[in-house]
Subunit: 649 residues, 2 copies
């Protein structure tokens, strides 16, 4: 049996997609320089920590591949499924299923192939690079073609049968992005009476798209998610508009609190196509990120409408298009895109608790999303309700700005991870060491999405255990301060909390020491019961003086945007967005094994959800863009296995 | 004797630095993929077209290097010079000479070493990558260190003695650019009461630099040259300001004629640090280039003052600083930088001929620098004086906009080169094929500057001969139209004309066919004698109706800017800028073998000239920035061999 797949208690049905916190146990530091021929996407991953023994993996893989390919060609689903272990996984990104789907076990694989293989017609399976063997598992990158495009794959083979297969469409034949050898000339040499300059073309597009011509895709929300997707659609020639409420691209970062920097290091955070230059800081300050996005929108020639609000969207099922009401620069306007993508951030509306007496408070009271700086609160008493990232960052900022007292009200347990900090190589395939070893962002991305969600907790548990051991003194001091520390129900740490519920943790960049030494005062296992003009009263009866109250209480689910912009009926049909169905707190089952409704078809035709952190937005925007491009080109896209919408509590 | 070095008639003392038009006869198309270990800067250049025979080049090179290094260590200039052939070359970029200098022959080499070697104290000579042998010449990349920094070198060895040596400082020890593993963190983890955000730091710098603190370098002119240099200085922590007359960065391109695109393909045109994305067109339209530069200025955090004019500069020799009078947004202001760099474009003021009757002309009359579009001249008669790039482009544009007649007045012979066009791989180390082979822009740049100016005409003559043969029909038709075609005095073509005089050619993107078929009318061996309200009268007596007259008559020398901004005395001391001293038309001797006054110390302390096309600006800005950084850090920079200023005609 593959390690720990079905042996985990069904109560904690595990899953996560994220190599973010070092989840993928790939070692690169000691690896010798890899050769140029291995730098391409299909390169051998640098996972080889033990030399192969016995059968060279290449012939083992080739043998398997021949049998598997032959079964697919004969459309014999059962024979193809028999190439897999009983306990096995196949993750497909829109190559076979036109969905983002993990099939678990031979039966599910067989069922999918019966439904999808004939239409996919995969051929030309090739091994790319040299397979490796680790702990008895042969690991090979593959290429293949379908009847509509070219794909990449990854096979993990044990004892002659597949343990894991990964397949991902990479480009649509005849609709490839123009780049490198196929880039545009930029000028029509020769003499042409009807010459149109680049500027004229841009100006015409800006004057007509959304007015006399309709975008194929409307992206609602112009943060990094909407911007990156729009860039991919631009390269695929899919007419698109991004609408953004703010005045300038990048304002979604600029408008956050002053001291904010990205919590993820730079190697995760590249946008598609234009990487940050190599002096870019490890943790990008928010205003610098704002400038980068503003530049990016311009350079990628996006149709990006600032100061534009979406007020309502309605699907016309007969016409298969949306009617979307906008207000652009104060002027109402209706557009009729075929698809809409909600890229409104993976959170819904701010959660604002309804606390008696709040209306009588004499000081400032705000949700964390409105907090900008602690500067006005020198010598004041501040109460922060909540103990996740925003709660900690805001307490940190208030203390640095000399608030008299800063009190964090912690209602429930929180996972604390220590930030990469000085350890710049500690983040797997996204690190300076990986860059030095020739691992491009594109390759690291492919490695990341080739991992199986159901297997993630194994690695995460080990990584969490290691981090706890390495930081034992820190965690002991933090708990001694009274802080309610946890590492998740199954002790799989921050990565799993992120995938399951998108919150419940703090990446420590300095506030934990302030908690430990008492500079940030802690009140635990309580919440605010009521508010008076000058104080808050906690549920244990304590009364604390207060000039500022910040609700660092998080956000609702992303599907709230669908309810607000479209209708409750559509929101209900789509169901919850994000989470894996791990049956842990805030992530109830049933198990889906993929993030619900993200980057893939939903139960509402032509409605899509896009987002995640910068790395996920970059990575999955590729597959969302391919899905949209295929539809624009009327390529058949039969979707396999959309689960019913999962209702919110 | 090395091929053709001293055998060329001294009348045409040759020289050019530019691989731009395929000057470097390196073949890459048929080369097998190179290995990652050869991708670094010191990689073996991909010049090997013949396998090595006899002595393996590595041991031959190693042997030479040992003797040479030993002589340098003993400071025995004569012994070191004896490692060279009598006819030999040493090009140094600020490693030994703190100058950009080519020494020709053993005597000059010996003299330089006597002056410079002790202070340079070079050590640690190493071969980088595998040397190759072509036509009996062993070719090796080297690394070495000096007492202040790290250098790269290239050795070409024949029969055991050096034919060519190239040495170039790459970085100053202890003052390296922070990048990759040494990049900034971007956030100070931990709790700090005095935390300053990125935005606050930027705002403080913008508020103080040039007002309460002084820049070390003031760059006058904010086109691609000034911008790229400022970016390098930013990475080296040299406080700098760029002043630019226009309202926005990029306007120097936007304000040109509508149909303009870069004449150089994209692989030449990258700015330092942030390459264009891979969909960027082969020939960048001017407005797109404007947007790129505007973005670049912001992202590289340059102190870039728009709407700022420099009115006067004066050197205070006692204080070793400049007093520079500026008008910024209409407000006068004086700054006191230690150095000023003129990055005003490699041209001086527009040449405007003084033609009798011009003041009586009823139509529009303008220099090419003011021409924007042919659109207003539908059905009109246009006369363009001049037959170089601008002249052709403007005729082309007028014809496309349906001018009734377009007449080009050609006063003298012009070289026409066919643009790379569809042949995307035809530009040597800067091409898609080079990218695919792993040749980075940085490596291509180093290959380019390692070439010896005096040897360039050999390769250029051959390349020109080849191009003439390949396009024989085109050239025959062009000459049959009456066009005065040449390939330079010594038939070395466009590359040499560029280096010698910076003009005298057209890169054909379509206008030549219009000349051939008569759509552009040609008047040759004449100029405009006088102008009447509705006509021009040529020197052969012909009178042509005219609604528009464009002077595509070029520009004066760059040193005019020094005269205008500083004084005639300083301009005279500095002398002519650009040109090699090849003793050809517009490039009189004496031979210098390097472009006069460009990117290196001049006869006016603390005054520098920077510019060239995008590739040269990028390439040489590195060495100019190192010279400025060394001075900022009070590293001794004894300059060897500044020639006397070469006076203008």
């Amino acid at each position: 049996m593959p390690p720990g797949t079905r042996s985990i208690s069904s109560k904690y049905r595990p899953g996560a997609l994220f190599s973010f916190f070092g989840i993928v146990p790939q070692k690169i530091a000691s690896h010798p320089p890899i050769k140029a021929s291995r730098l391409s996407l299909g390169a051998t991953p640098i996972t080889t920590t033990q030399p192969a023994i016995g059968t060279p993996p290449t012939s083992e893989v080739a043998e398997w591949l021949e049998i598997f390919a032959d079964a697919l060609t004969r459309n014999d689903a059962e024979a193809a499924a028999n190439c897999f272990h009983e306990d096995s996984y196949w993750r497909d990104l829109v190559a076979f299923t036109w969905n983002i789907k993990t099939l678990e076990g031979r039966d599910q694989i067989c069922h999918m192939l019966q439904a999808c293989n004939a239409a996919t017609a995969p051929t030309g399976w090739q091994i790319e690079g040299d397979p490796t063997t680790t702990d008895g598992v042969a690991d090979a990158w593959l290429t293949f073609t379908t009847n509509v495009g070219r794909g990449k794959g990854r096979l993990r083979l044990r004892d002659g049968k597949a343990w894991q297969l990964f397949t991902a469409l990479q480009e649509l034949t005849g609709h490839e992005e123009k780049q490198g050898f196929t880039r545009d000339m930029g000028v029509g040499h020769g003499a042409h009476k009807d010459r149109i300059t680049w500027l004229q073309r841009r100006q015409r597009e800006q004057a007509t798209l959304g007015y006399t011509t309709q975008p194929y895709v409307l992206i609602i929300g112009g943060g990094q998610g909407g911007i990156g997707l729009a860039a991919r659609l631009r390269r695929l020639n899919v007419p698109s508009i991004v609408v953004e409420r703010n005045q300038d691209a990048g304002d979604s970062w600029r408008n956050r609190y002053d001291s904010l920097t990205l919590h993820d290091p730079v190697w995760f955070d590249h946008m598609p196509y234009i990487p940050f230059p190599d002096h870019w800081p490890v943790y990008t300050p928010k205003d610098q990120m704002g400038d980068w996005l503003e530049m990016y929108v311009k350079i990628m020639e996006l149709n990006y409408w600032t100061s534009t609000e979406c007020t309502h969207a309605e699907y016309d099922a007969a016409a298969n298009t949306w009617r979307v009401d906008l207000v652009r620069d104060g002027q109402p306007l209706t557009v009729r895109p075929t698809h809409i993508v909600l890229a409104t951030g993976m959170s819904g509306s701010p959660n604002i608790p309804n606390i008696p007496g709040a209306e009588t408070f004499a000081g400032d009271i705000m949700h964390s999303s409105k907090f900008r700086t602690g500067a006005p609160y020198i010598g004041k008493h501040a109460i922060v309700l909540g103990s996740n990232n925003s709660g900690h960052d805001i307490c940190h900022d208030l203390w640095e700005h000399d608030a008299d007292t800063v009190t964090m009200v912690q209602r429930s347990h929180t996972t604390v991870a220590r930030s990469g900090g000085g350890n710049r190589a500690a983040v797997g395939n996204y690190s300076e060491a990986a860059v030095a070893a020739g691992i491009t962002t594109e390759l690291a991305d492919l490695m990341t999405v080739s991992e199986i969600s159901a297997l993630a907790p194994i690695a995460r548990k080990k990584a969490t255990d290691d981090a706890r051991a390495a930081n034992a003194d820190f965690y002991a001091r933090l708990e001694a301060s009274g802080f309610l520390l946890d590492f998740g129900e199954d002790e799989t740490g921050i990565g799993m909390k992120y995938a399951r519920r998108g919150s419940g943790y703090y990446i420590d960049v300095g506030a934990s020491e302030l908690v430990i030494n008492g500079d940030i005062k802690l009140r635990t296992r309580v919440t605010i019961e009521r508010i008076t003009p000058q104080t808050v009263v906690l549920t244990d009866g304590t009364e604390l003086p207060a000039d500022l109250i910040v609700y660092a209480t998080g956000y609702g689910n992303m599907v709230q945007w669908a309810e607000q912009l479209i209708s409750k009926e559509v929101a209900d049909r789509v169901g919850k967005v994000w989470g894996l169905g791990s049956n842990t707190q805030y992530d109830p089952g049933p198990w889906e094994g993929e993030l619900r409704n993200m980057w893939k078809p939903t139960n509402q035709p032509n409605l899509w959800f896009h987002g995640g952190n910068l790395a996920e937005s970059r990575n999955y925007s590729k597959y969302l863009a391919l899905q949209l491009k295929a539809r624009l080109e009327h390529i058949p896209t039969p979707v396999y296995g959309i689960p019913p919408g999962h209702q919110l509590d």
